[in-house]
Subunit: 422 residues, 2 copies
Amino acid sequence: MNKLTQTYNCMVAQSGGPTSAINASLAGVVHQVLASKQYDICYGSINGIVGILNENYLNFNEILELPNMSIEKLKLSPSMYLGSCRYKIKSFQDDPATYEKIFEQFEKKNIKAFFYIGGNDSMDTVMKLSAYSKQIGSDVRIIGIPKTIDNDLCVTDHTPGFGSAAKYIATSVLEIAHDTFIYPVDSVTIIEIMGRDAGWLTAASALARNDYQQAPHLIYLPEAEFDDDQFIADVKHILAQRQNVIVAVSEGIRYSDGTYVAASGSAVDQFGHQQLSGAGKTLEYLVKEKIGVKVRSVEVNVLQRCAAHLASATDLTEAFAQGQKAVLLSLEGVTGAMVTLERLSNEPYEVTYSYYDVSKIANETKAVPRNWINEKGNDITEECLAYLLPLIQGEVSLSFTGGLPDYMPISHLNACRSKTEE
Amino acid sequence: MNKLTQTYNCMVAQSGGPTSAINASLAGVVHQVLASKQYDICYGSINGIVGILNENYLNFNEILELPNMSIEKLKLSPSMYLGSCRYKIKSFQDDPATYEKIFEQFEKKNIKAFFYIGGNDSMDTVMKLSAYSKQIGSDVRIIGIPKTIDNDLCVTDHTPGFGSAAKYIATSVLEIAHDTFIYPVDSVTIIEIMGRDAGWLTAASALARNDYQQAPHLIYLPEAEFDDDQFIADVKHILAQRQNVIVAVSEGIRYSDGTYVAASGSAVDQFGHQQLSGAGKTLEYLVKEKIGVKVRSVEVNVLQRCAAHLASATDLTEAFAQGQKAVLLSLEGVTGAMVTLERLSNEPYEVTYSYYDVSKIANETKAVPRNWINEKGNDITEECLAYLLPLIQGEVSLSFTGGLPDYMPISHLNACRSKTEE
């Protein structure tokens, strides 16, 4: 590849919710920009495209020269080094000024390629900006790099961030099994896992099973209709066989009429307001009421998306490679596309990277196929397990300082800075 | 040390709640029994002293010859390999039969020493059994080995299990800071940490602070009176300075009249029952009501006591050493004692092991000194931090199989086995 005849730069930003792998994709972009020597400066826009509107940028060429900063450390750090936004860009017809401002900035900064790392909503932005770019005859290439712990993007085999979240969840369920099995009394433990519309992460709880323990004994995903009576019958059935029952439920499980189980557990707080209890808490109350054994619900909280100390090496490697791929695609002139990953085989696990028209991906979601859930709707199938297993393989080698993981400092984020500095 | 003239055995058991280090103490006992060559068999009683009453034992000499089992793996495995119990032994006057049964078993199995690894309640058992032993002229030595994530045992500098829980909590708070700081909007995140009566674990959240981030910005322990108005004023004060506020609260925080904050947050569930919300959830509702910014509460759940993948190497080393010490003490004829740890210096961190009359330790608790909490009652002092810091140092080198930690199988525990097998 020859150096572009003129001096050009590129820009990268992150959007949506955090994952343990989204910085690995950022690291892949920055690494490949430096390695390809086709762009002069790699800018980072702070807080997604909002950073472009506010002209708030970092220069990675400078950042990487600072002490205690490196591509490798960035790869291993959780959440978003560049900050995030929840900014849904309107159509050009409704808001031409935003489009004009963004492309003015691209021109001002000599941007030839813009890489947007995010989920569904971010791909919508990639689609709209690339369509606008073509329309005005701009040669700025706009490329999406996927990320979401939910694994619900279409076309691509799986999404960066999912494998690390899955590894954290499976490890947590295994550790909760060790925690729970010590008391020889009947008990039910309900573990609530993220996933409003897709049950991939909850399905991954099945990876906790090994040759000495079979928790979770029951698994409920949003893709199969939930029924209170069937659930209670399922739990009673397992309790007849063994003392400690562990149940994995997705936060998004719902009844046949489409209402969320969580919504049925609404309670009134001390101020008289209705508060949703969450699916786990709702089922905890249900078990207490209908079975009466010792019961506890555990919400695997935000740590499932940011516990980078337990990231999947496979996930980070793939996230990094997809960042690299985006840079290479931009140099080939590709635009309006999202980087995709195709699985060539499970054993040995092998993947290849490609790209796909982002307009076919944005605003669509990929659910767990119903035939990857058992007929009763309370477990996943072997086929689903075989799909999941390779994604949690490999551990990262994290540095620790003073007993804590040594992550990339994020003091440049608005939210970290004192308001008086702004 | 000469071999005891006759063939004698010893027994070990675990009791109370799980920690990431209680198996390290068990490993220390087993290792030292084998190394000292003074006892022939090291028995493990399943489910604490209940195992003695049920004559339910393991023989560690045999277990360690099984494939895939080792002292090192036991040391790194979370929760309790021997299972637990919540069995409060009555006084001899009220229940002589239990004492007689236990000592009959000791005689039948040629037990010369019994090691009980546990917290406060377990030390009560050690106290009672050793007093009875003396009373009947038995030469069975009864020795307690401390463990509790709560760090609330007296006399000893700190307890095995606490350092690992503290490391998990500090790491989690740091990762939650990375997760939270990405959005440039005002928000409050409340992290609820275990500790009903002592705030040690919540204090450990302060270890998350580093040169680029100062979360948690507020810390509330049970040892300082909680006041709703002061709390809201504290949060508003921080919100005036920065956008994202992270608050660490102990589950046991209470008002000046002694009532738990959690109790004030009771709500009515869908069955019409009163449900305690937990301190974090209660304060979430309070912030929503009084300040109205984006607010989330995160309960650091049971993983804080069983996430062995993030154990403190210092903690496991000390837990192991205290198991060894107990065996050595028994061979010196010590009984009615708990192994203790004395800190010689913070920098360099240095400790020594000793023992103390268990009757002075059982049923007492050690709180965070009020002068280790700032005057306002919303943070800890530098002195407290200096005490905590050495305890989370060092990481363990855990094996992984198939993407998950490779722990000691617990298929022998009652609760793991099918009921039909029993």
